[in-house]
């Protein structure tokens, strides 16, 4: 990864802030105009959608749905991250292991989320475990490759220098490996967050009786466009908030680079 990637993203966000507002406001305006001419059940008005969104955030039971989905996303990502790291470490150390693991992960990347839903339903009973399994299986390859890349990008010079002080394994991990891979890991979380949010609603089809995916299915059956849009927005808002948090962590943890960026 090129140095400055993380803060580069930050800067891109900052630079686009105004344009983002304009673009989204424009989209809302077009939608609102369309709602004036098109049947209400196809294009519900913006105030209507906003009211539904507000209702979701103010009713405890629907808020619980949103939180459940958020928790599933984060749990799945955490699981994939831990497993991906455990896979990436031996892959980085042994070419033989990598040669076996790589095609399997690649193969896995081609499997659609819906196939994992079917597999999970047939294999497992517990609904939460099914969802966790689907989330992990779908985000694992990307996480593994990203952690591996981050590790590979470690400077051989710095490795040799650190080794010359004869650190314990734990110290080597703490002093060199962790700071080296951290930027890549933060980027990986950001990228996979979007994927996970898209997968989670599919995963919730395994029989969840709550969550954004479940609610979306309800809206579909009720033919309720305003509800569908509102629930979709809940998910989008969650992704944006968490991405913002990661960016915040990035700008703190990688401030040694953020400063370098300013000098460019």
């Amino acid at each position: 990864m090129a140095p400055g990637d993380g803060s580069g993203t930050t800067r891109r966000f900052r630079g686009l802030r105004l344009e983002a507002v304009v673009a989204l406001a424009g989209l809302a305006a077009i939608w609102q105009i369309a709602s004036l001419f098109v049947p209400h059940f196809l294009f519900p008005s913006i105030p209507e959608i906003a009211a539904r969104l507000l209702a979701i955030f103010t009713s405890w039971s629907s808020l619980a749905d949103a939180l459940a989905t958020s928790a599933r996303i984060l749990a799945g990502l955490a699981g994939a991250f831990v497993l991906g790291t455990l896979l990436a470490m031996p892959m980085a150390r042994s070419t033989a292991f990598e040669r076996y693991a790589y095609p399997l992960l690649n193969f896995n990347q081609g499997i659609p989320a819906l196939s994992w839903v079917v597999v999970a339903i047939i294999w497992f009973r517990g609904i939460e475990f099914r969802i966790f399994f689907i989330m992990v299986m779908t985000t694992l390859p990307a996480f593994t490759f990203q952690v591996l890349d981050a590790y590979r990008a470690m400077s051989k010079d710095l490795f040799e220098m650190t080794l010359s002080f004869r650190p314990s394994r734990l110290d080597l991990l703490r002093a060199l490996i962790w700071p080296t891979v951290l930027p890549g890991i933060l980027t990986a979380w950001k990228v996979n967050l979007g994927n996970a949010a898209r997968v989670v609603v599919v995963a919730e089809l395994v029989g969840a009786t709550g969550g954004v995916g479940y609610e979306l299915l309800q809206q579909q059956q009720l033919f309720d466009m305003a509800g569908a849009v509102a629930w979709t927005l809940v998910l989008v808002i969650f992704v944006l908030v968490v991405q913002g948090l990661i960016t915040l962590i990035e700008s703190r943890a990688l401030r040694y680079r953020a400063v370098a960026e300013q000098a460019l």
């Binding site: 140095p3 650190t162 010359s164 002080f165 004869r166 650190p167 002093a175 040694y256 680079r257 370098a260």
Partner: protein
């Protein structure tokens, strides 16, 4: 020189597997360096100087022969030398995510010196190298010369018994390098550590070393001299000429 040499090479050879074939970087190299000696090793690029240092620091092991540092095998007993060997590399090799003072304190930290204590030591070394006020700067905010000063401080801060310096000024521009070299000589003499200074510059070797070893290719000792402080300029010039001839002759002997 005491009975037990601090660093001992006995008929050391090192071959690297390269593209299916074998490449001999060091051939039958033997020498002994006593405690507190200041040795300059001179040789052309690619003759195996860095490989020699890596053997001493135990990062690699000899293909044949024996390497002993303070009587032990530096490769097999790798962690035994924690805090005992300091290395100044050709490039600064600073961790970009650490400030200058944290970089200097790295070795102390890995050697479990308490935080307060190691920061005090690191600060005093930064001061000795003229970097007061830059303690909290990240490497990117320092010039090349300053960064190399930080890396020198890092190597010295642990007060190692042995200092290995691998062409530490060759990546710097001439002016910066020369200025730092004079300070560096003073530091080396003050520490009393056994020091090996690698260079491909004859002048640098003569000005820094008390003893001088010229390596041929593959690394073996082609010429050795002792440099006294009281040496006259004529005597120095004679040594210079001799080294030049050895290095030139060595080139002529190179197999095609």
């Amino acid at each position: 020189m005491t009975a037990d040499p601090e660093i001992l090479f006995e008929q050391v050879s090192k071959t690297f597997g390269r593209g299916g074939g074998e490449f001999e970087a060091i051939y039958d190299l033997s020498f002994a360096i006593g405690r507190g000696e200041l040795v300059a090793i001179l040789g052309k690029t690619g003759c195996g100087k860095s490989t020699t240092l890596n053997l001493i620091s135990g990062l690699i092991r000899p293909s044949r022969g024996r390497v002993r540092v303070q009587g032990h095998d530096p490769y097999a007993d790798f962690t035994r030398y924690r805090g005992k060997i300091g290395i100044v590399f050709q490039n600064d090799r600073l961790m970009p995510w650490r400030t200058a003072i944290e970089n200097v304190a790295l070795g102390l930290e890995l050697n479990k010196v308490p935080r307060q204590k190691r920061l005090e030591i690191a600060a005093s070394w930064l001061q000795r190298l003229g970097l007061s006020g830059h303690e909290n700067n990240y490497p990117h905010a320092l010039s090349g010369g300053m960064r190399q000063r930080v890396s020198i401080a890092r190597a010295f801060a642990g007060e190692p018994d042995i200092l290995l310096c691998d062409e530490p000024f060759s990546a710097l521009d001439e002016h910066t390098g020369n200025a730092l070299r004079d300070e560096f000589r003073a530091l080396l003499r003050q520490t009393g550590a056994t020091s090996i200074f690698i260079t491909h510059s004859i002048d640098e070797a003569l000005s820094l070393g008390e003893r001088l070893m010229v390596l041929g290719r593959p690394a073996h000792i082609a010429y050795e001299a002792t440099i006294g402080v009281d040496m006259s300029e004529t005597e120095r010039e004679a040594v210079r000429g001799r080294i030049r001839r050895v290095l030139a002759g060595d080139a002529a002997e190179q197999p095609a």
